[in-house]
């Protein structure tokens, strides 16, 4: 066969009112598996969607499916973002909803969702069991979609795609939100899939890839440029020169006696299922913590207790900022002291807000801005946008931006009020290498010269800020270990 598997010529893709890709040429030969990297906003996702026929384009994309192959002749695209719907087709959830208990479930179970997908594509259910096992998913079959953590949602998408085994599989940032184990197992599954004939296009800037990926390209200026493996791993060495906006250098207000967090035998369960067991945890003012654990180990539930988002908080014994929970404080008083970012927050955030409104909404802990913040807050918002390099996007709607930029705006929202406690749950998910570095440096600066307390959740050990000094590890809802991280051991801890 002299024709390539995929032949793209003179491709042009527009996203909203901007031309993202222009004059792009690319040939994927039979048997080749590619990685596509590039900065946030460079057009990686647009390219992936165009190939899968999910985005309008001009130019030519020819795909020579093999009629003799047993694999389905189709392109399957796994989005970086996953929007799920409840049984009534509604998608406007709010992220705290997953912690509520209802007499009637409103979203489908995993089992039902998989059966639906299998029926739609004529797949045999026995084939999926092995994939579920390898990704540690078998026990989740009876959970409902809304109960899943972000990592578990990501895995569900991957499970479906691997089960389907299409002739061409496009994976957009597949490692987002996956813990280390799952990333390794995913690579094994992807290698198997490739060996059985599925060709892969993987989008992302990740370091650890499946062995079958042997060709690399980046998107620069709307075109594709093949790069060597060595070039791909070259570090971006941008140093941030700008000074932190002045208002973020101040000490956060700390106006209460006692620890930031003090938990005594905290338990959370839904019916029979216990998700947190006898948690004891003290966080003193100014401490910098790393919170780790496998997908589904209870991390986000633990954080929801701290952020005032969990209804079972009222049946547990713990104090936040020196006050016992459920003794007359409102959740808005708690939230006023916390800057939070998490994948769930991003999922359910009001994406019809502009970038400016999003950042300013951090003053009020609301999803979207509901009032005029006044001139002082106007000024701070402007300074922070400039620091984050988002000034040009101030009036752009969130849903018109690539995910990386959305995330950066939400990070601005997290820190704008210079909060006493920063909770950064996988803050860099979706950011490119440069932005991640930029952000971690910002966290170090914020935490370095004042009394900010930090709780950081991160799966990628190579992407942590330097200031972290303690770590708590959860396993199956229990505290597995609490450890000090000495500065000398820091490197070791990071590469585990």
């Amino acid at each position: 066969m002299s024709e390539p598997f995929v032949h793209i010529s003179n491709l042009e893709v527009r996203y909203r009112h901007q031309t993202v890709l222009k004059g792009l040429e690319w040939k994927i030969n039979y048997g080749d598996n590619w990685l596509i990297c590039g900065d946030s906003g460079s057009g990686k996702t647009s390219l992936g969607k165009a190939i899968a026929g999910l985005a309008p384009f001009s130019g030519k994309i020819e795909i020579g499916f093999n009629p003799l192959s047993p694999l389905p002749p189709l392109v399957y695209y796994i989005a970086n973002w996953y929007q799920f719907k409840d049984l009534e087709g509604q998608s406007n959830f709010y992220y705290q909803q997953r912690y509520n208990t209802w007499s009637v479930e409103v979203t489908a179970t995993i089992q039902a969702e998989l059966e639906r997908f299998g029926a739609e594509h004529g797949l045999s259910f026995s084939d999926v069991e092995d994939i579920l096992k390898k990704l540690g998913y078998s026990e989740l079959k009876d959970s409902t979609l809304i109960q899943l953590s972000s990592g578990e949602h990501k895995k569900l998408q991957l499970i479906k795609a691997i089960w389907l085994a299409p002739q061409l599989l496009v994976l957009d940032q597949p490692y987002n939100g996956l813990d280390k184990n799952s990333r390794q197992n995913l690579n094994i599954l992807l290698d198997q899939l490739a060996a059985e004939g599925t060709q892969l296009v993987l989008i992302g800037n990740d370091a650890e890839l499946p062995a079958c990926i042997t060709r690399y390209a980046e998107i620069v200026g709307g075109r594709l440029r093949e790069v060597s493996e060595y070039e791909r791993l070259q570090d971006y060495t941008t140093v941030i020169a700008e000074e932190l906006p002045e208002f973020l250098n101040a000490h956060p207000v700390h106006d209460h006696p006692g620890d930031i967090i003090s938990m005594r035998n905290v338990n959370i369960s839904y019916g029979e299922k216990q998700v947190l067991k006898d948690i004891n945890w003290q966080v003193k003012a100014g401490e910098k913590w790393l919170l780790q654990g496998h997908n589904g180990s209870g991390k986000s539930t633990l954080l929801s207790l701290i952020c005032g988002d969990h209804p079972q908080a009222y049946a547990n014994d713990y104090s936040l900022f020196g006050q016992k929970r459920g003794t007359g404080e409102s959740i808005w008083e708690i939230k006023a002291k916390i800057g939070l970012i998490s994948p769930e927050l991003h999922w359910y955030f009001d994406r019809s807000a502009t970038v400016w409104q999003t950042v300013a909404s951090g003053f009020y802990d609301s999803s979207g801005l509901f009032c005029d913040p006044g001139s002082l807050k106007h000024q701070k918002t402007g300074e922070l946008l400039a620091y984050l390099g988002l000034t040009a996007y101030g009036n752009t709607l969130m849903n018109e931006l690539p995910l990386g930029k959305q995330r950066l705006a939400l990070l601005g929202r997290t820190i704008i009020k210079n909060p006493e406690l920063l909770i950064l749950d996988e803050p860099c998910q979706g950011l490119d290498i440069q932005q991640t570095r930029h952000f971690n440096e910002l966290v170090d600066r914020l935490c370095g010269n004042n009394g900010t307390t930090l709780i950081y959740v991160g799966h990628f050990e190579s992407q942590l800020p330097d200031c972290i000094e303690k770590k708590i590890i959860l396993e199956n809802g229990k505290v597995k270990a609490v450890e000090e991280i000495k500065k000398t051991e820091h490197y070791v801890t990071r590469s585990e």
Binding site: S91, N92, G308, P311, Y314, G328, S330, D350, S361, G368
Partner: protein, 493 residues
């Protein structure tokens, strides 16, 4: 018990109907302080009960749930909702005697028995809170004179009350104090604090009265909100099928069309909705809706008259006494309509197509909103109250139709609303029979603009625009919408 409204002299009837004041933000600066440390006991734990309780607790208030013994022993859904979200649950006898505020969030039909059961247990000087005035106004329930009686009525389904609160906002809310039961003069302060506890103060609060709330709420739900949406949906669907349009397409166009069309209404009022049409289509929709208004006006007036006189409540309560015979019969019949039984197709319908191909729906909505508003105002209800109960709530109800058609709408709304909806629907269909014979697919099912050159007469267009924009519902609405900023957009399917 006799109808409270009918016992009042005309002077006092007009006085109470006329309580209507859009409250300034500054009225809520004291937050929840008036209720802080007080014991709030909610009776009933359905959607409103649970979600209001979650909000109040998250605002720092002490909330527990009193349920009937059978509900607790049988571990019914209300018991599960409350206990699994870590609330204290007890029987009336256990919780009511200590309560400072008892909040009645049970269905209308149960109000009399619930209030009769809790009143003897309530302590001297405590407060009874309703979120609908039916029991006090229509049934004439007499409350012990030492007890303060207030109302806080979020104008949204319970799930929205919660969702808007946790995103840092709230839902528009009506508050009221019953003039017969405010012995200590603390009613308004408590109602305001409760409203802050549910987040309502961030989204616009209308001070109303029990009488004004009931008489406008009943009118709105029977006519534009549920009655007309039901009649309009079924007639539109049937017409399309009769004219050979693919039933799956017709089903989808109506099911989601009412939501998309009223979404425009939510943001820009009637003129905002009409402006989504091309100029020729707008003029046509105006003419059609004028005709619809003329046909339906007597029916709207009859509903308002029966609500004012108490005739509606009397008839409905007869049906209660008769085991809900009418209600259940109608409910079953609605489940059997072709619209209900035809699933929406998988075809993609672009947002604009919902306007262009469903001009009749737009005309129905305009006619219904304006008629309901006009009829209420003519009957002595203030324009602000009338706006809330007509235009404001229409998109919220349309949203339930988009979820699961009329079945879902009638499930979500109260039995009282459902009863009124059927009364309207049964009377309205025959009224419109002749009109419907003249409707072709250019009004519903196909693009009205197809094959037309988009030209219009200047003067006609100016006259139509002027008529739409100068209507009182638009003038009041523009002011109220400004106060209710940041309304969430509904996604198109």
């Amino acid at each position: 018990m006799s109808n409270y409204f009918n016992t009042l002299p005309l002077r006092e009837q007009l006085n109470q109907l006329g309580v209507c004041e859009f409250m300034d933000n500054a009225e809520f600066l004291d937050g929840v302080n008036v209720l802080k440390g007080k014991k709030l006991v909610i009776v009933g734990c359905g959607a409103q009960g649970l979600n209001q309780g979650l909000n109040l607790r998250d605002s720092g208030l002490n909330v527990s749930y009193a349920l009937r013994k059978e509900a607790i022993e049988g571990k019914r859904d209300s018991w599960k909702n409350a206990t699994e979200n870590s609330f204290t649950v007890g029987t009336y006898e256990e919780l009511i005697p200590d309560a400072d505020v008892v909040i009645n969030l049970t269905p209308d039909k149960q109000h009399t028995s619930v209030v009769n059961a809790v009143m003897p247990l309530m302590k001297q000087g405590s407060t009874l809170l309703y979120s609908h005035g039916f029991n006090i106004v229509e049934e004439g329930m007499q409350i012990r004179k030492d007890i303060t009686v207030i109302m806080v009525a979020p104008k949204c389904p319970g799930s929205e009350v919660r969702a808007e609160y946790v995103r840092g906002f709230g839902v528009p809310t009506l508050i009221a104090v019953h003039p017969e039961n405010d012995p200590e003069g603390k009613g308004l302060a408590q109602a305001k604090a409760y409203c802050v506890g549910t987040g309502g103060h961030r989204a616009g609060v209308l001070r109303s009265s029990f009488v004004a709330e009931v008489k406008s709420d009943l009118m709105g739900e029977q006519t534009i909100l549920c009655g007309l949406l039901q009649t309009g949906s079924i007639l539109s669907f049937d017409k399309m099928v009769e004219k050979g349009i693919d039933p799956a397409y017709a089903s989808k166009l109506v099911q989601y069309g009412v939501e998309v069309v009223t979404e425009a209404l939510k943001h820009g009022g009637v003129s905002g909705m009409m402006d989504r049409l091309s100029n020729p289509a707008k003029i046509k929709a105006y003419e059609v809706s004028e005709e619809l208004k003329n046909i339906m006006r007597p029916l709207f007036q009859k509903h308002q008259d029966d609500i004012m006189s108490g005739e509606f409540s009397r008839v409905m309560m007869e049906d209660w006494a008769n085991g809900d015979k009418n209600l259940l019969t109608w409910r079953a019949a609605t489940g059997e309509t072709a619209f209900e039984k035809t699933p929406a197709g998988n075809m993609k319908i672009a947002e604009q197509e919902y306007f262009d191909n469903a001009l009749l729906l737009v005309a129905f909505v305009r006619a219904g909103v304006e008629l309901a508003f006009e009829t209420m105002v003519e009957a002595g209800i203030k324009p602000e109250s009338a706006y809330y109960e007509s235009l404001h709530e229409t998109p919220l109800i349309a949203n339930t139709i988009a979820r699961k058609k009329l079945f879902e709408m009638n499930r979500v709304i109260s039995d009282t609303a459902e009863y009124g909806c059927y009364l309207f629907d049964h009377a309205c269909k025959p009224l419109l029979a002749d009109f419907m014979t003249r409707v072709e697919t250019d009004l519903i099912g196909k693009n009205f603009n197809e094959g037309k050159d988009n030209g219009v007469d200047n003067v006609t267009l100016i006259t139509v625009n002027e008529a739409l924009r100068s209507h009182q519902v638009e003038i009041v609405g523009a002011r109220l919408r400004k106060a209710m900023t940041a309304m969430k957009s509904i996604k198109t399917a």
